[in-house]
Amino acid sequence: MRAAVLLFVIAACGASDQPPEFTDTGGTLAIEGCGYSITTRLGAEPPRVASDLAGSDPTPRLVHLGLVGDPRTSIVAQWRTVDEVTRSSEIRYAVGEGLSASELDQTATGIEFGYQSTGADIFRMHQAHLCNLTAGTTYSYMVGSPGHFSPVYTFHTAPDVVAHPDAEIVLGFVGDSRGGFDVWEQLVTQLVQRAPDVMLFSGDAVTIGITQPEWDEFLGRGEALFTSVPVVLTNGNHENNAVNYYAQFAMPGDQENFGFDYGFAHLTVANDTPEDPAALTGANADALRADFEASKAARWKLLMHHQPMWSAGTRHGSNLTLRDSWGPIVDAYHLDLVLNGHEHHYEVSKPLSNGAVQTATDNATVYVVAGGAGADLYDNGVGFWTQYSEKTHSAATIRVRRDSLVLESFHPDGTPIATGFSKTKL
């Protein structure tokens, strides 16, 4: 009898919710109710619906928001836990601003997956995907697991511009924080005060993409911003397509080349540092063209990628391969604004089309380099295309309304940079 009891206990232990061993194959999971899937890459586990397993310290940390689906009706909350083991993952939320934890009356289960880059450490991401939300609405939320939730934060869904033609959206924009996180923190404070709807980051958040502590510093110092504003990034040469980058930031499509509407703006994001360099002038250029074609009716068209096609910076200068390959596509679809980093300075171009300066902004594109989120500055320069350049750390906001687009830039101390860009379409 004792042997039978022992066998039963052993069998019961064997059937318990032991987590599967780490596998770095990546995988895909359809997100219920959202109509899209999440795919992880080599170096990460396949994503799974969260289980009840709690580790020694399930306290959530490094909470940040992302976008995968329609920003009018969906959002993604992402976080890790102190123990990196907890697999329990939940979001509680409700319509309204500044609600208390007890007022968050709706719940959704999250998904989770581990990833590994250098060393033996496994980092575990949690994501909670909320869909079927109401456009132009403020929500309060908290993430974590029973007994271990984050503070209550708020987020806002994108406006429905058909119902609200007066809607204004503000895009925060910056890049290249690597190695200068005190400056990055200053810019975050300035950006929080400007309450952007979406934060655009043009790459090189960290010096080495596979180094997790740098990412933790970037996210930790950006917490005041990222807990209430979804962040959309593009891969820089320092992220270098690291698994850490793709694991930590949920974004539409393949996370490299995609586009989405937000208010009256359509933003296209492109990877100009693909793993296969041939993709730059091949698949990625095709993806760019396809997204521009699909969005050609958009009122305002913006493109973000890392390396500038037009820059008078003395370190890297203009990327002529990109200019030759992507420039004609940008010109053909009359983009309004192209946003870059890579050069650690601030530069706004004159309106350009077919490589020539235009007198008017109609059907011409303005290129902005704002690679000054903290990295050591490079000397700025002046090219025939340069409207303004300054060797400075900076960030910018882009205010988009139906009839106007205004780019305003500022130093880390909040003082405005004299020259921005504005355009109206009547």
Binding site: P165, D166, Q190, S404
Partner: protein
């Protein structure tokens, strides 16, 4: 409901739509004026904000008016317009932004007590990048001296410091960095001072300052670790630079001594040096082509290629003159001299690449692969 009541409701609805259309048009016109830089745009937005009845565009008009007023340095007017957004706002994001802008203005101006100083501060900073920065920096210096209790006084000090540094006045820049750092030990201004010390090559001073505050509770450790890495790199490179300059000096003395010995006198050595050896005649056109090609691309690379080309030609010239001074040089002598020439060129190449931090670009290329251009 009577027919009259229905007609009245319809009339009110139509009138409301007409008012919304009018407001929409007025907003669009004001926005176009703002884009054109018309200072009257702020009045137009305020007029639309004040018009009654309230429409969907009312809070937007006040919001735009506030933004333009702040941009023009009219901070009190901006504050009043922002309060209108908060009072009348129907878009929660617009209201949130108005609250944020009010909080920012309050922090920058001490709730309005420093409006004039803040406006002057921002006006001068905006002028810094245009034209001669020196008079603007001096005005900023006067501003901070006259208003040391201005909430952003330390940020003004940092702006002055970086302005002087960009203007190549390192001494004045470091003095301002130090003054700002003293008020923020362990934090941003102090870190900026350390970075400036590293850039200026004052490595011992930076080392001393780091040791002084490394373990202080207020110190921003993650950022300090970055500065520490930059300092360690700078120290290592300074040692390498000094070593290589030493090698070049020894080789130069050795070359002079050997040339004098082989030529028989200093006069004869000088005569041999005045005539370009055959290898220089081959090398110069190649170097010229390399320099010309380099100048079509990255300016940092171009400067390094120019320096390396000049150093290569000089080494070839001296080495050729030395060999010409010997009637029948032995193979061992030729090999030894070629080896020393290679060492000299390698040393000059490193020094050229290290200049202007181009070495960072080389290392980035090493780590990340060549950038497409």
């Amino acid at each position: 409901m009577t027919r009259a009541a229905i007609a009245l409701i319809a009339l009110v609805a139509v009138a409301g739509l007409a008012r919304a259309d009018d407001a929409d048009r007025a907003f669009r016109d004001a926005a176009a004026r703002a884009t054109a830089g018309d200072p009257g745009a702020v009045d137009a937005f305020e007029a639309l904000g004040a018009a009654r009845p309230v429409t969907a565009w009312t809070d937007d008009a006040w919001s735009e008016a506030a933004r333009l007023a702040e941009r023009a340095g009219q901070l009190d007017r901006a504050r009043r317009d922002l309060e209108q957004v908060i009072a009348l706002g129907t878009d929660p994001q617009l209201v949130r932004r108005a609250r944020g802008a009010l909080a920012r203005l309050a922090a920058n101006t001490g709730a309005g007590a420093w409006d004039a100083v803040a406006a002057e501060h921002e006006r001068l900073v905006a002028q810094l990048a245009a034209g001669d920065p020196e008079p603007v920096l001096e005005q900023l210096e006067a501003l901070v001296r006259a208003n040391p209790r201005y909430p952003r006084a330390n940020l003004v000090r940092l702006a002055i410091a970086s302005g002087w540094e960009r203007d190549d006045n390192r001494g004045r820049a470091l003095a301002w960095y130090e003054e700002a750092a003293a008020l923020e030990p362990g934090r941003h201004a102090w870190l900026e001072w350390l970075r400036a010390l590293v850039r200026a090559g004052q490595l011992a001073r930076a080392e001393h300052e780091i040791a002084r505050l490394e373990h202080a509770p207020e110190t921003d450790r993650a950022s300090l670790a970055e500065v520490r890495r930059a300092l360690d790199r700078a120290v290592l490179r300074a040692w390498i630079r000094r070593g290589l300059w030493g090698v070049l000096a020894v080789l130069a003395v050795l070359a002079a001594f050997v040339l004098r010995r082989d030529a028989g006198s200093w006069r004869s050595a000088a005569r041999r040096l005045a005539r370009p050896p055959l290898e220089v005649l081959f090398l110069v056109p190649i170097a010229a082509v390399l320099v010309a090609v380099a100048h079509t691309g990255n300016p940092l690379v171009a400067a390094a290629v120019r320096t390396i080309a000049i150093a290569g030609v000089l080494v070839a010239w001296i080495s050729g003159a030395m060999l010409d001074a010997v009637a029948a040089p032995r193979a061992r002598r030729v090999l030894l001299q070629a080896g020393l020439a290679v060492i000299a060129v390698v040393a000059a190449t490193y020094l050229a690449v290290d200049h202007d931090r181009m070495i960072e670009l080389v290392l980035e290329t090493w780590h990340e692969g060549p950038a497409t251009r």
